[in-house]
Amino acid sequence: MYYVAKVDEEKCSTYNCKQCTLFCPEANTLMFDEEKNTAWVNEPRCKGCALCVYVCSDLLKRDCIQMVMVTAED
């Protein structure tokens, strides 16, 4: 089991944002999907630092990212 970030894509897509994707310390991990207009997380690469939650919730007050527990099979 490990911790990863999960984006509420429906909620994120209501904004025109892309802010969290500029601060993740991991390469090719917190991505932005132009078509769906939402950020999304490449989960096997996420290290669970929750820096993106700070950007989305603390700085922007948009609350679109949550940290969740996943297992390797998920």
Binding site: L22, A27, C49
Partner: protein, 289 residues
Amino acid sequence: MGLRYLQPAPGFKEYLPKDYVDLIDFGPFGKTDQLDATKLGQFKEIVEEHPMCAGCFMAYFVRVFYASLPNPEDTIVLGTAGCARLALSQAAVPFIYGNYGDTNAVASGLTRALKLRFPDKTKDVVAIAGDGGLMDIGFSMTMHSWFRKEKFTTIMVDNEVYGNTGGQESGMSPKGVQLKMAPKGKKFDKIPATELAKQAGCVYVAKLAPTNVKRMAKVIRRAILAAREFGPTFIHAYTSCNIEYSIPTEEVLKDAREREKKDFGFEEYMTDEVRQYLEEIEKKEKANK
């Protein structure tokens, strides 16, 4: 310029590893466009996965660095012992591992050799090392490369500690700070690295905390462009070590913003000729957009 060289021969693409193919389909391989760090998250990056700690802002800096290179296909990055090389060595541009402390001597020789071997080509050399690598153990080689006006860029990723070896004090640790392997507390101030760089002859010097991608990209680019024509350039970047300074990972950006207000406010110095040169380039780029 992107990474135009890196195009697979016809019929060969299907046999290449997925990461390589992704760099062709969604990244800069085979393209001539300038990389754009302000679009991070929207393209496949030349730095792959890395083994640095969760929430490491030095790893974040490396990511932005690789997305800001003005000429990635002709750039050689020089790293050394210390945390940053763990990510620096995972990118799709040439990387050389200098012995600890030797980076700026190796970079000097390399820059000169490239001038001799490829007189008609622009090759960029960038040495990136920690505070220990550049301001302690490699201090004399860093300073002498500046005194000699060697034309390459030096970037200090300053986490104010020897992070990779478990928390020894460095010349860049702040006064009074207690570290795991320096429990008595630092008795001296941080070395004034940017002041030394200016005095030693660097033609472009910047100091920043990684809070603003656009500005980081601009500074990295400016430092590399100025080094091509005029002389040594230096960037002093605050890149916290959340492990040795016990910063909760989700607060790493908050910490960087606080330090920016306190003692890592943005500073940029350049000589008049560098300013004129960069302004001309940037004006042309704006007109082309």
